[in-house]
């Protein structure tokens, strides 16, 4: 019998007020792809940091290949043979690929040897990389390759991948899975952290599910359903959003016409000739990998940047020249991508945050003086209608969890009875229960005739939610596809930069369709 590569038992880590890990046990075999599942705050990151030596556990035992060890630092972890690919890449934008790799290596190689080794490894595992380019020039997928190559150069025997696919196109995900399967076949163990259940079903041999700092189940993802794992993760069953069948009328409520916009940032993307209509009662999706013009498009639609009047039209009114407040008066509501600092002010109370975008449409001002009672009542209404878990309208926004604050922001915009709602990444970093509630709210809103525009990098979200969708790539928008008829492959090709689909879409090569399961 072979010795397990890593065995954790009784791991405990407490922060003031929170027990982040409580009696956690985990066993990873050799060459096994092991999933670590859990919602935000379930204790996954704490556990991973303990394994990688960033944190010391308060109690518990770590056995590496049958030997009890203490992992005091990331350096110690690396010398044992543990490599980690971080979710938020630990890369240095102004440095070259070579320098980035060198920083993550303990062995001191000279530049030439290192460049050769990088090329060697990247060819062996299908991860093409030019060692001499600076990181800020690279796509997100290429950046991830740097992290992976950096790990592989140290011949790891355990590779930790923290939410590796959240920023990749479907084709990039497939390529990554091939690399991971190749590594596993060579005997490398992989700890794969994710909350995307269909990926885990497709990739992993074993899974450990965490909730509230504890392990709630060890299971085999190949025999479980996505639904059963989701319920273990959340701890209760929750209603998946229901989408009624509907016939769309051709009645554009929100139109964008030949929108051109130069970028305001050094490494930004200029918009070129963007045109689309969102019909009455339609949910229209815009997919694409971040950095392809999303922030520019959202700024132009919300009024944070102005355009020619006819570029943005609501119900026949040209509003391209109007600022955000005037657009709101025309019935436009906007949920920005960034909750803290853009959608809400963390240090203000919920009542004040409710006021910030709703003062006109909800009459929360009287000759420039704040009507506190009304603002507070409005915040209370949002909290009740959208089941926001908060102590009340006087709670600070920063005291809410990501999911609850997002529900509050969504509720604030919806209760202003908009004609058009623009939502950017409405469920980014939000737990599954809150995500389902937000999706349901958007579907209900469209049911009342509101035109809803969702800009998201989460393809599953758009496939499940939208009636039609288009892909933003390099500042240009593809022609819209009817979501029900579109395939993930089609969308993926558009995300990868193919602007017009060929008549015949390439078939997938006999691989089971992995990316379509409902979370």
């Amino acid at each position: 019998m072979t010795v397990a590569r890593l065995v954790l038992s009784g791991i405990r880590k407490a922060y003031p007020g929170v027990l982040a890990n409580d009696d956690v046990a985990l066993t990873i075999g050799q060459g096994e792809i092991h999933a670590l599942l859990g919602e935000n705050g379930a204790g996954k990151s704490t556990l991973v940091k303990i394994i990688y030596g960033v944190l010391a556990p308060d109690a518990g035992e770590i056995a590496w290949e049958g030997r009890t060890v203490t992992i005091a630092s990331p350096h110690a972890a690396r010398s044992l043979g543990i490599g980690m690919v971080f979710q938020h890449f630990s890369l240095f934008d102004a440095l070259t690929v070579l320098e980035n790799v060198a920083l993550g290596l303990d062995a001191k190689l000279d530049r030439k040897t290192l460049a050769e080794r990088i090329t060697e490894v990247s060819e062996a595992y299908g991860l093409p990389l030019d060692p001499h380019r600076e990181v800020h020039e690279l796509s997100v997928g290429e950046r991830q390759r740097i992290e992976i190559v950096r790990c592989l150069l140290q011949n790891p025997r355990l590779l930790i991948m923290d939410e590796p696919t959240s920023v990749l196109t479907p084709q990039e995900v497939e390529r990554l899975f091939l690399t991971l399967r190749q590594l596993a076949a060579e005997g490398v163990s992989i700890l794969y952290i994710s909350h995307k259940l269909h990926e885990i079903e497709a990739l992993c041999d074993a899974a450990t599910i965490m909730r509230g700092g504890k392990v709630v189940a060890h299971c085999d993802p190949r025999t479980e359903t996505a639904r059963s794992m989701a319920e273990l993760m959340v701890g209760s069953s929750f209603a998946a959003p229901e989408k009624p069948e509907k016939r769309l009328k051709r009645a554009p409520r929100f139109s964008v016409n030949a929108l051109d916009l130069p970028t305001a940032e050094v490494f930004g993307t200029a918009l070129q000739g963007i045109s689309f209509d969102v019909q009455v009662g339609e949910i229209f999706g815009i997919a694409g990998v971040a950095g392809n013009g999303q922030s520019e498009l959202l700024a132009a639609l919300s009024g944070e940047r102005l355009t020619v009047p006819e570029a943005v039209v609501i119900d026949g009114q040209k509003i391209g020249r109007l600022g955000p407040r005037a657009r709101r008066m025309h019935g436009l509501a906007y949920i920005p991508e960034e909750r803290n600092g853009h959608a809400a002010v963390p240090d203000l109370t919920l009542a004040d945050n409710a006021l910030l975008s709703a003062f006109d449409r909800r009459g929360l001002l009287s000759s420039g003086v704040i009507r506190h009672a009304r603002a507070s009542a409005f915040a209370r209404e949002i909290i009740d209608r959208f089941s926001v878990r908060a102590t009340g309208p006087m709670a600070r926004a920063s005291a809410l969890s990501g999911g609850n604050l997002q529900k509050f922001v969504v509720g604030r915009e919806i209760l202003q009875a908009p004609n058009v709602l623009i939502a950017a990444q409405p469920t980014w970093g939000v737990d599954a229960g809150a995500a389902a509630a937000i999706h349901q709210a958007l579907i209900d809103l469209a049911g009342h005739g509101v035109a809803v525009l969702v800009v998201s990098q989460d393809l599953d979200e758009l496939m499940g939610l939208t009636d039609r969708m288009a892909v933003l790539n390099g500042g240009r928008l593809s022609r819209p596809l009817v979501t029900a008829d579109a395939t993930v492959e089609q969308i993926g090709l558009l995300m990868g930069g193919l602007h017009d689909l060929p008549d015949e879409v390439p078939q997938s090569d006999g691989q089971p369709e992995a990316t379509h399961a409902q979370a």
Binding site: F86, S90, D93, L95
Partner: protein
């Protein structure tokens, strides 16, 4: 020495204190720390260098003491901002004010005391060459140290592994921490180097440039050095060019005043180097070359290792 050579030689001496202070601050900023206390550290170096040289009679000991005085000031700054996480801008400003007061207190007994200028290196044969001789070979040791230090810093940042780690810390301290690099310790070293270098710049003022002690004798050079770092886009060799350029402006306005060239009040001419600083900063921040990647991404952001 003909007048033009004399002029050029004075440009070199005017540039040297700027170069010391700016190259030190450059290293500090590349590690992600903004220390606005350069002026204060220079003054501490100036008064210490003067006092120690006067009492020991040794310029070498004076120079070393000045470097340590600058570093001691930097250590206070480092402790407040890196360990106690105080606001870097406020602490830097306080350090400058503190340096002005402290140096005036320490130096009150030395005002008006003359001191022999640091000896110039005299290389028989070379120093006697026309133009090139006095320009390249007729200076004191600090002038050469400043240039060599800048070249060494340029090599260190671009070529050495430690320099690469320092840049990485300034670029993304979270990631550097995640990879296991001691962010705070590296920043302490950078801040101390900045103090050391500013102290040397101060020593040059009180030992070589005008060998005496006057209150606030740095006259804003610490601030110009800060501007120089931005002007140079955080690149050491550009700091070298920038320091000599600003040194040139300083000397030109002095000569213009002396010769009564322009029918403007001398105060306007004295403003020139400072005006040039403002103009350069404005041009840099609005031009097409303004870029996020010029400044170290973590510049001025406090680092608090979370979990």
């Amino acid at each position: 020495m003909d007048p033009v050579t004399a002029l050029l030689v004075t440009v070199v001496t005017a540039a040297t204190p700027l170069l010391f202070a700016a190259v030190g601050e450059l290293v500090v900023e590349r590690s992600g720390v903004l220390n606005l206390g350069v002026e204060g550290m220079m003054l501490a170096g100036a008064v210490t260098g003067f006092a120690v040289t006067l009492t020991t009679g040794s310029g070498t000991i004076g120079i070393i003491a000045a470097a340590f005085a600058g570093a001691a000031m930097a250590l206070v700054f480092g402790f407040l901002t890196l360990t106690l996480l105080a606001n870097q801008v406020a602490t830097g400003l306080a350090l400058t004010i503190f340096g002005v007061g402290l140096s005036a207190l320490v130096g009150s007994g030395f005002v008006g005391t003359p001191l022999p200028r640091l000896p110039r290196l005299d290389l028989p044969g070379l120093t006697d060459l026309p133009v090139v001789g006095p320009l390249l070979f007729g200076h004191d040791v600090l002038v050469y140290m400043a240039v060599l230090l800048t070249l060494a810093v340029a090599w260190f940042l671009a070529r050495s592994r430690a320099g690469m780690i320092l840049r990485a810390v300034g670029e993304n301290h979270e990631a550097a921490h995640g990879l296991g690099y001691p962010v705070i310790r590296i920043r302490y070293f950078a801040v101390l180097f900045g103090g050391l270098s500013a102290g040397l710049g101060g020593a040059f003022l009180s030992l070589a440039y005008t060998p005496m002690w006057i209150e606030q004798m740095t006259a804003g050079r610490g601030w110009i050095a800060l501007a120089l770092v931005v002007f140079a886009a955080w690149r050491p060799l550009r700091v070298l060019v920038g320091a000599y350029l600003f040194g040139g402006v300083t000397i030109l306005q002095l000569h213009a005043q002396g010769m009564g060239l322009f029918a403007v009040p001398s105060q306007v001419l004295s403003m020139l180097p400072y005006l040039a600083t403002i103009v350069v900063l404005v041009v840099i921040s609005v031009g097409p070359w303004k870029g996020r990647l010029q400044a170290p991404a973590c510049l001025g952001r406090p680092f608090h290792p979370t979990h």
